[in-house]
Structures are given as structure tokens and as C-alpha cells.
């Protein structure tokens, strides 16, 4: 009984460890990220912020996208290649996922738009 529990527990723990290793990332707001920039440069990260109005440059032919992700006080430039989610526009909340590049630009693997509220539409 005890051995069984140990084996199962060990197995589950081992699998979880392996799975976590390959998929984890720190989650920051833009401002927190800027404050810890040096400490986290080698980790994979998810950063939440707003798309700064007027900063979006999209090259459809190359599927290239650059924009500035803004927090309350600081901001960070983001570069991304690929398809952009449906509701991606300026001045919305997004989460970018990737690593800090050499030149200080955040190289995003994915850009997730947050439905401001999944079910609700703000009344103006």
C-alpha cells in the first residue's frame, strides 16, 4: 500500500516537474518588469500591459508586428511575427509571451488579447 502510494506519488510528481520545466514563465506587469529588467533577462516571461496608441506598425507581407507595450510609468518595445488575434487594436490590454532580446526589444512568441470583459460591453 505504502509502496504503491510512493510509486504513484513519485510518478505524478516527476511528470509534473517535467511538464512545469518546459512551460513555466514569470508573469509581470510592464512596470514590474521594468523594475526587474536585469534580473529576469534570461527567463521566459509573460508581460501584461496596454498597446500604446500610435505605436503599432504592421507589415502584412512579412507578417511582422512592432508596438510599444505601456504600463503606468514605463514602457517596453515589442516585436512579433505571425498572425495577430482578432481584436488586437491600439489601446487594449494584451499579454505578450517570450524573452527579452539583445537590443532591449521584447521578442514575443505569442500575443494574447484580453477580452476586456468576456461577457460585457462597456456603455459609453
Amino acid at each position: 500500500m505504502l509502496i504503491g502510494v510512493l510509486v504513484i506519488g513519485g510518478g505524478v510528481g516527476y511528470f509534473m516537474y517535467q511538464a512545469i520545466q518546459s512551460s513555466w514563465a514569470y508573469y509581470y506587469s510592464v512596470d514590474d518588469f521594468s523594475a526587474n529588467r536585469a534580473a529576469v533577462k534570461n527567463y521566459s516571461l509573460r508581460i501584461a500591459g496596454r498597446v500604446k496608441p500610435g505605436s503599432v506598425v504592421r507589415d502584412l507581407k512579412k507578417m511582422d508586428l512592432t508596438f510599444t507595450l505601456a504600463g503606468v510609468k514605463t514602457e517596453v518595445p515589442v516585436h512579433y511575427e505571425g498572425t495577430v488575434p482578432d481584436n488586437f487594436t491600439e489601446d487594449i490590454e494584451v499579454v505578450v509571451e517570450g524573452r527579452l532580446g539583445v537590443n532591449g526589444t521584447f521578442e514575443a512568441k505569442t500575443v494574447l488579447t484580453r477580452c476586456e470583459s468576456k461577457y460585457r460591453v462597456k456603455v459609453k
Binding site: Q18, A19, Y26, Y27, L60, R114, V121
Partner: protein, 688 residues
């Protein structure tokens, strides 16, 4: 009208509180008059909530934009069906619907005037109403659907265009019927714990079992509808993203599946009985927890939600529930002296293995979902012990790959077991060692074969490397082929089982012994068949999907797999509440035109939102899935997301088969109930 609705909710809050107090008093004093009064109060509570529902519906359909909820979820131009379904499109409305369903089910089950179960019903009602009471407090104070705005809006904001889809009209209420339905086994469990009457409970037990199945069916249907909606509407080609919102509906599904298997072997005064009670409480607790998680943003989700508000009340409720449950379970343990060993219970081994698997899966998904929260707490604790800041203080999130990797091995073992079970049930555990050995041998051979296939690049040299490699292999996408093989094994076993059963039935007929056709048996096998079919779809669409992005000008071509796609032209379309840009795409296979697809991008006026409308060519073999992701300003260039999803339709077919099987079981147990009522007094078999 809004005043009436608000008043009705307040009154129902009062009534449910009254019912709780009076039920407790009545049970303590053994006063039938009081219990009757509490019962009537519960029924009146349902009446009040019904009035509130109708009031909200009238407001929504009449487009009374003085009410905040109406203005936020509808607009004048919205089609009638969506105005109607806006009742559950928002947090407040959906909570009202859930509360209404809960009270409705309690009235159906525990407010009958049968004398026999009066005491039990009173006890069960106390706990059911307690949950309802908490929900109504949140509804009246925090999420009042009848709140009036200071200045009435001229037109509403409209329903989120993503939700304007038939699947999304049905998905929430179906899911809520499932969640609310689990209140019945939950109340049953507490009734069982507080009354401690075991012998009188066959009918009550069967009732709880039937309601669990009923709720399970709706939950299954709701989850699948949600997945289908994601596939049809969100335009990324997937159906499941392991988002906290999705996970929170999967968790009670897993425990409910375990619970269904437990009910089959329930025996009073055995350990399995306590276990069943625990699972019943756990399942409904996870429903409440899911509500808390999705509506109050403990962990950040792609679905961002509104302010925390009184969401903490859900946690207060859960703590209350588990403290009471803990006390009652200890009391039960002290009172009952287990006289017989559990080994008498038939098929217990399978149930234990099934339960362990389900719970482990639920546990890892639970941990994964809460990981951002847990890791932050953990890092904080570690930091408070050491002065150096080794790790940055930030929550750690896990990518969806975590879940696919962690659930793949568990899912495979589960499939293997479902495949083995019919054989084991027929021949018994000890006689089946040959087939178990054979299965293990085949599994090992398969692993070795796959291992040698991929030796060249990834060969690890030392022992620890090899073990690590195995771990990664099991977790990686290469689980697809084993999944196919196991599904095939399952299908063969289930078919063999069917044939065997038919032969036995014919043989019995010949010898003259009466063995009525057991619909229930068929139903449960059909559910398992559905799971096998579904997993073929999951493995196929996950393992062999191909996708590409193409930027195209009119007249340009691109190809994927055996298809060649030509972008013909862009055109504008006008709907009642949207304008759309549609791209005409001709799909050729060889020289032959096989289909014209029309993916579009629609702009919804009321909500000022753009949504891409996908177009799919469906076949049983694979789907060709097109999403128009972007159109440039000059309307010269479009960006197309093209995907081939093999076997994906088998997921929907499999889940349909699953629900069908479940319905057969539900129907057969209903018929069984009739026979039991006819044979009252005769000895009735417990386990089937």
C-alpha cells in the same frame, strides 16, 4: 418592472433564510408543522425567483435601457433570440439563472410531501438552501441585475459579437443545469451524514445517482458545446486552450465521473459509502469554486473579469461546507462500526483505479490552474525566510503545453483501462492475468519500437538520461500513435463485449431463463465507445495538424497539403447589426474545384468590435479551416490563416455518442424506478 424583480429577489432571499432556520428548528423539535412550513417557503422561494427571471426577460426583450444590465448586454438592433439569451450573458443574470435552477431542482427532489423521507428531505433542504442563500446574498448586494442607471442610455452596448453564435446561446444554460444539478447529490450527501439512516435509503440513493447522471450529461454537453464554439468562433483552429475558465468546468466533470462509478457499487456502512459522500460534496464544491475562479480573477485569465466584490463569499461558503462536512464525517466514523470488509463489494478494484486516475487528473489540473497564485505565495514564504532575494517576486504562469503534457499519460492509462475493463469484468481479475500480461508486453514492445525509431538524434547515453528521455517522450506529442493503438484496442474490446453479451442473452433465452435486456449495460458501454471515438479525434487533430499563414493579393494562389487555394476577390456584405468583408477563396484538389469558402471579417456596430467569421470544409477525414485574420487598409492584401485538422469531427461525433449512451442509462434507470415502485416490498438488488 425592475422594482418588482428586485423585490422578488429580496423576498426569495428572506424565504430561503427562513426555510433554513425553520427546517433546523423543525428537525430538532421533530415538529411536522414547522417542516411543512419550511418546505412551502422553499417552493415560494422558487416562485419569487421565477418572477425575477420573467421580469428580467421582459426588460431585456422590451429593451429598457434604464436598467444597467439590459444596456450593457443588448442593443435595439440585436436579434430577438440574443436579447432573450442575454439573460445569461452577464455575471448577474447567469447567477440568477443558476440560483433559479438550484431552487427548482430542490423543489423537484426534496419538497415532495412523501411521509417516508420527510426527515431526510428536511436535512437535505437545509444544506441546499444554505448554498442558495449565499448565492442570493451575492445576487442582491453585489451583482444586482435590476440596478438602474442614473441616466437611461439611448441604445445599449450590444451583446459581445463573439457570443452571437447559436452554440453560445445554449452553452451557458446547459452548463448551469449541470452545475446546479450537482446540488442534489451534494444535498443527499449531507442528508445521509446528518440523518445517519442507512437502511431506509434505497430510493433516495437511486435518486441522487440519477441526478448525478443527469447533471453529468448536461455538464458534458455544455463543455463540448463550449469547445465547439471556440473552434467555430474564435478563429484560432483549436477547441480547448486550458484556460482557467475551461479548466474550472473540467474539474467537476472529472470528479463527477468518479462519483458516477462509485454510485454503481454503493453499499451502506462500507468505506465506499463514505467515499461516495465525499465525492458528492467535492464535485459540487468544485462547481462553486469554478464560479469563484472565473468571476473573481484569482488567477489571471485571458478572460479578464470584473472587480472582486463579494466573491470572497464563495470561499466563505466553501469553508463552511467543508468544516461542517469534516465534523459530520468524524461523527459518522465514530458512530459506524464497520463490520464487513470492503472486498465484498463487487468490482471495487476497478472503481478504485478509476477514482484514483480521475482524482489525480483533477489534482494536477487544479494545481496547474492555480499555479500563478500558488507560486506567488510559495515565493513569498521562501523569501520571508531568507534575506537574499534569489528569485523575482512574480507569479509563475504555465503555458497550455503543461496541461497537454501532464494529461497525456493519464489519459492513455485511462483509455487502456476502459479497454481492459470489459474483459476483466467478464472473467474476473485473477483469470485475466494472461491478457494483462499481453497488454503490458504489447505496450513495452511499442515503446521500444518508437524508441528505436527516434534513436538517431536523441539517444541518451547514461541511465538517468534514458529515464529522462522516457519521461519527456511520454509527455511529448508522440503520444499520438499509442493513443490510436489504444483506442483501437478499446474499440475491439467493446465490440467483443457486445457480441459476447448478445450471445449470452441468446443462450439464456434458449435455456428459458429470463434475463431481461439490460439497457443500462448497453448505455454505459456506449458512453465508453464515445470516449474511444473522441480520443481518436483528439489525437488526430492534435498530432497531425498542419497550418500556415498566407498573405495574398486577388488572383494569387497558395497551397497546403493536397489543396490549392486561390483568392478570388473581396466583397462587402451587410447584415442587420454588422457589416462584413468577405474573401472568396476557391479550393482546388488537383485540377478540380471542390469548394468555394468564404471566410469573413465582421464589424459589429453596437459594440464597435471586429470578429473574424471562419469557413470550414468538413469531411470525416479532416477539416480545411480558413480564417481571414487581417485585411489591409487599401483592401489589396489579405492575411489568411489556413489549417488542416485531421479527424477533428470525431471529437464531436464521439461526444454525441457519449451523451446518447448517458441518455440511455438515464432512461433505463427511470424505467427501473418504475419497476421498483411496482415491486415495492420485494427485495431489490443493490448493485447492477
Amino acid at each position: 418592472m425592475p422594482e418588482l424583480g428586485h423585490f422578488a429577489i429580496l423576498l426569495s432571499l428572506f424565504l430561503s433564510g427562513y426555510a433554513i432556520v425553520i427546517d433546523i428548528l423543525g428537525s430538532l423539535r421533530k415538529d411536522p408543522g414547522l417542516i411543512k412550513s419550511a418546505r412551502n417557503a422553499t417552493i415560494a422561494c422558487l416562485g419569487c425567483l421565477s418572477v425575477a427571471m420573467v421580469a428580467l426577460w421582459v426588460l431585456l426583450v422590451k429593451s429598457d435601457f434604464a436598467v444597467v444590465y439590459v444596456a450593457e448586454h443588448t442593443s435595439r438592433a440585436l436579434p430577438f433570440a440574443y436579447k432573450f439569451s442575454a439573460l445569461w450573458a452577464g455575471s448577474a443574470g447567469s447567477l440568477l439563472l443558476w440560483s433559479w435552477l438550484q431552487v427548482g431542482f430542490v423543489v423537484l427532489v426534496y419538497c415532495k410531501s412523501e411521509f417516508r423521507h420527510r426527515r431526510f428531505s428536511a436535512h437535505a433542504r437545509v444544506f441546499a438552501n444554505l448554498v442558495g442563500f449565499f448565492f442570493l446574498i451575492i445576487l442582491t448586494s453585489d451583482r444586482n441585475p435590476f440596478e438602474l442607471s442614473v441616466v437611461a442610455a439611448a441604445d445599449g452596448g450590444g451583446l459581445n459579437p463573439l457570443l452571437q453564435h447559436p452554440a453560445m446561446v445554449l452553452h451557458p444554460p446547459i452548463l448551469f443545469v449541470g452545475y446546479a444539478g450537482f446540488l442534489i447529490p451534494f444535498a443527499w450527501a449531507f442528508g445521509r451524514l446528518t440523518t445517519n439512516q442507512e437502511d431506509d435509503g434505497t430510493a433516495l440513493l437511486k435518486q441522487a445517482q440519477r441526478w448525478t447522471l443527469f447533471a453529468w450529461l448536461f455538464l458534458t454537453g455544455g463543455i463540448v458545446l463550449g469547445a465547439w464554439w471556440a473552434y467555430e468562433e474564435l478563429g484560432w483552429g483549436g477547441y480547448w486552450a486550458w484556460d482557467p475558465v475551461e479548466n474550472s468546468s473540467l474539474l467537476p466533470w472529472l470528479t463527477a465521473t468518479a462519483l458516477l462509478h462509485c454510485f454503481r457499487t454503493y453499499k451502506p456502512r462500507f468505506a465506499i459509502a463514505t467515499w461516495t459522500i465525499l465525492l458528492s460534496i467535492l464535485t459540487f464544491s468544485l462547481c462553486i469554486f469554478g464560479r469563484f475562479l472565473t468571476k473573481y480573477g484569482l488567477v489571471s485569465s485571458v478572460h479578464a473579469f470584473s472587480s472582486p466584490g463579494l466573491g470572497i463569499l464563495y470561499i466563505v461558503l466553501l469553508i463552511n461546507v467543508w468544516v461542517i462536512a469534516g465534523i459530520l464525517l468524524v461523527r459518522r466514523y465514530m458512530l459506524t462500526k464497520s463490520s464487513a470488509a470492503d472486498s465484498v463489494v463487487p468490482n471495487l478494484r476497478f472503481i478504485i483505479v478509476n477514482n484514483w486516475l480521475m482524482l489525480i487528473l483533477a489534482f494536477v489540473i487544479f494545481v496547474g490552474t492555480l499555479f500563478p497564485f500558488l507560486s506567488k505565495v510559495f515565493i513569498k514564504v521562501v523569501r520571508s525566510f531568507s534575506s537574499q532575494s534569489v528569485t523575482p517576486l512574480a507569479p509563475i504562469t504555465l503555458a497550455p503545453e503543461f496541461f497537454t503534457k501532464i494529461t497525456a499519460p493519464g489519459g492513455l492509462i485511462l483509455l487502456l483501462l476502459i479497454g481492459l475493463c470489459p474483459h476483466l469484468l467478464r472473467h474476473g481479475f485473477s483469470k485475466s492475468w494472461r491478457i494483462i500480461l499481453a497488454v503490458i508486453a504489447v505496450a513495452l514492445a511499442l515503446m521500444v519500437w518508437l524508441f528505436t525509431c527516434s534513436l538517431d538524434t536523441t539517444r541518451p547515453s547514461d541511465i538517468s538520461g534514458i529515464i529522462g528521455w522516457w519521461g519527456r517522450w511520454l509527455l511529448s506529442g508522440s503520444a499520438t500513435i499509442p493513443c490510436f493503438i489504444i483506442c483501437g484496442f478499446m474499440l475491439i474490446n467493446i465490440i467483443v463485449d457486445f457480441v459476447h453479451y448478445e450471445m449470452k442473452a441468446t443462450a439464456n433465452k434458449k435455456t428459458g431463463s429470463t434475463s431481461p435486456r439490460n439497457l443500462r449495460w448497453y448505455g454505459s458501454r456506449i458512453v465508453h465507445l464515445g470516449i474511444a471515438i473522441m480520443f481518436i479525434g483528439i489525437a488526430g487533430s492534435g498530432g497531425y495538424a498542419t497550418e500556415k499563414n498566407a498573405a495574398l493579393k486577388p488572383g494569387e494562389k497558395t497551397d497546403i497539403a493536397e489543396y490549392e487555394l486561390t483568392f478570388d476577390a473581396l466583397r462587402a456584405e451587410h447584415g442587420r447589426n454588422f457589416t462584413a468583408v468577405t474573401a472568396d477563396i476557391s479550393v482546388y484538389k488537383g485540377e478540380q474545384l471542390i469548394v468555394r469558402l468564404k471566410p469573413a471579417k465582421a464589424f459589429y456596430h453596437a459594440s464597435q468590435k471586429t470578429v473574424s467569421e471562419i469557413d470550414v470544409r468538413r469531411t470525416l477525414g479532416s477539416d480545411l479551416y480558413l480564417a481571414l485574420t487581417e485585411v489591409d487598409k487599401g483592401r489589396e492584401l489579405i492575411n489568411l490563416h489556413i489549417m488542416i485538422k485531421p479527424l477533428i469531427n470525431w471529437i464531436w461525433i464521439g461526444s454525441f455518442v457519449m451523451v446518447l449512451g448517458g441518455l440511455i442509462v438515464l432512461f433505463s434507470s427511470h424505467r427501473r424506478k418504475m419497476t421498483i415502485q411496482q415491486n415495492k416490498g420485494k427485495d431489490i438488488e443493490w448493485a447492477i
